[in-house]
């Protein structure tokens, strides 16, 4: 049995979702030979600590009752203090300076703690620095959950496709904008109406600008370009246009051509081209997937084109990617 002590930093929907899945799958994971113990849960307003493993269910119930955390400690206090193998960073993304996530990640790595994250900001801002810090301290970092939710994209390329040279990646990397475009097309309704509905359904955030203006897709492209294509690019290198100007009439005109409109992120190594823009996609092509689905087309020198699709967001789906990284690290390091 391989045992790992895990800290969860950020107890919003992703952090709580992961904790719930770890608790729910405890027996299943034991059959597979893994004993995962969540030893700390930290959020902006405090922490729960138990070096023998926390009772996740009671913590979630406690938070639902609106009760405070038991300890007034922050993530940085606990990194050196509590014995832990893996820190899972799930705080909200900040693509301007990467913090607080970047600080958490770098401190953990410097203290010899492996890191798994769903937070895009630190990787967009400081990919090279994070990788160098992990290497220098002989620890691992997993970031599958930053791109494409449940789609095993990064591990697919770094694992099964590791002999291939990735020359281009394109696809739908944002579920919210895909949901809005799909609904607008099917129901011939205005962008503003569907956005409002998506907010009410919890598919779009109250501030959906990251999703609909293409910022989220552009951030993911930067991570893919730097980590899978050996490029050295910044957010500013991406040409970005979102879906806010798409009209029901433009979708009608596309329909008459046998096409729909999708927000497509594209990165091509040749010419260092990174672009997010609405594009006409024929119905008979894989990139026309609807709803909140994500899809990624990877173009390689040997395999040719590989297409992979799945749910791109949601706490449960993101947990699948986080758990995959956690178990990879347990296999390698614990």
């Amino acid at each position: 049995m391989k045992t790992a002590k895990i800290s969860i930093v950020g107890f919003g929907s992703i952090g709580a979702g992961l904790a719930t899945e770890i608790a729910k799958k405890k027996d299943f994971l034991k059959i597979k030979g893994y004993d995962l113990k969540v030893v700390t849960i930290v959020d902006a307003d405090g922490a729960e600590i138990d070096e023998d493993g926390l009772n996740i269910k009671s913590i979630i119930e406690k938070r639902e009752r609106g009760e405070d955390f038991s300890y007034a400690k922050g993530a940085l206090d606990l990194i050196g203090e509590i014995d832990q193998d893996i820190l899972v960073e799930c705080t909200p993304s900040n693509i301007r300076n990467g913090n607080p996530g970047l600080n958490h990640i770098l401190t953990a790595l410097k203290n010899g703690v492996n890191v798994v994250t769903s937070n895009k900001g630190p990787l967009v801002v400081a990919y090279k620095r994070i990788m160098e810090t992990a290497k220098k301290n002989n620890v691992s970092i997993g970031y599958e959950a930053t791109v494409g939710g449940a789609i095993p994209l990064i591990n697919l390329v770094k694992g099964n496709l590791r002999a291939d040279d990735i020359v281009a990646i394109k696809g739908i990397l944002n579920g919210t904008s895909n949901y809005i475009l799909t609904k607008m097309h099917a129901e011939k309704r205005d962008y503003e109406e569907i956005l409002l509905e998506a907010k009410e359904l919890g598919i779009a955030e109250t501030d959906a600008s990251y999703d609909v203006e293409g910022i989220d897709t552009a951030s993911k492209l930067v991570i893919l370009a730097n980590s899978l294509m050996g490029m050295d690019v910044k957010y500013e290198d991406v040409e970005v246009e979102g879906i806010t100007r798409i009209t029901p009439e433009s979708l009608d005109l596309a329909d008459e051509l046998g096409c729909t409109i999708k927000l497509i992120g594209e990165v091509e190594r040749e010419g260092k081209r990174l672009k997010v823009s609405p594009k006409l996609v024929p119905y008979d092509r894989p990139l026309s997937v609807g709803g909140t689905l994500n899809i990624v087309l990877i173009k390689t020198d040997v395999a040719g084109e590989v297409t992979i699709s799945g749910k791109g967001a949601g706490p449960k789906e993101t947990s699948s990617a986080l758990l995959s990284d956690i178990l990879n690290i347990v296999d390698e390091r614990c």
């Binding site: 100007r245 433009s250 005109l253 596309a254 051509l257 999708k262 006409l280 996609v281």
Partner: protein, 165 residues
């Protein structure tokens, strides 16, 4: 009809003007000239590509006139618009003068707008148009896309191109 021809000229000052004069003298409209002095033939001469708009009789007259002036026609044939691109424009298309937009493509001489469908919403919102352009080749289509890009930026229009697969 549109005719494209390649003429062989000596790499000397004034030879291009001497080649153009007999064409103009036949009343033929020159729409497009590609004059690349860097690409030389083995004999040191250069090739100039000229596209003209002319009737059959005028072409006959022009060929005769070029031969008389000792200008060699390497190839000549009807120009065909083989590249096609359909895209969607979103914005205040009518207010920003759609005729001007069409005009800029048509006046290139190497591309034409062959289809345009405009849809206006009921409310006073931005309209959408589907445009199909045909051009004589891939390079010419790229040039068209640059023209469209500059025009869209200036007029605040969003362009939705087909995804490259």
């Amino acid at each position: 009809m549109k005719i494209k021809m390649n003429l062989e000229l000596k790499d000397e000052p004034g030879t291009l003007a001497r080649a153009i004069a007999p064409i103009s003298a036949c009343g033929i409209n020159i729409v497009y000239i590609v004059h690349d002095r860097e690409k030389k033939q083995a004999n040191g001469n250069i090739t100039v590509q000229i596209t003209v708009e002319a009737e059959e009789e005028q072409i006959k007259k022009m060929r005769h006139s070029l031969e008389e002036n000792k200008i060699r026609i390497l190839s000549i044939g009807e120009e065909r618009l083989i590249e096609e691109l359909t895209f969607i424009m979103i914005g205040h298309i009518v207010d920003t003068d759609i005729k001007d937009t069409i005009g800029r493509i048509d006046e290139t001489g190497y591309a034409e707008i062959v289809d345009l469908e405009l849809k206006m919403p009921q409310k006073k919102k931005e309209s959408s148009a589907r445009v199909t352009i045909k051009a004589v080749g891939k390079e010419e289509m790229k040039r068209c896309m640059k023209i469209i890009g500059r025009m869209a930026f200036k007029k605040g229009i969003t362009i939705v191109y087909p995804v490259e697969l």
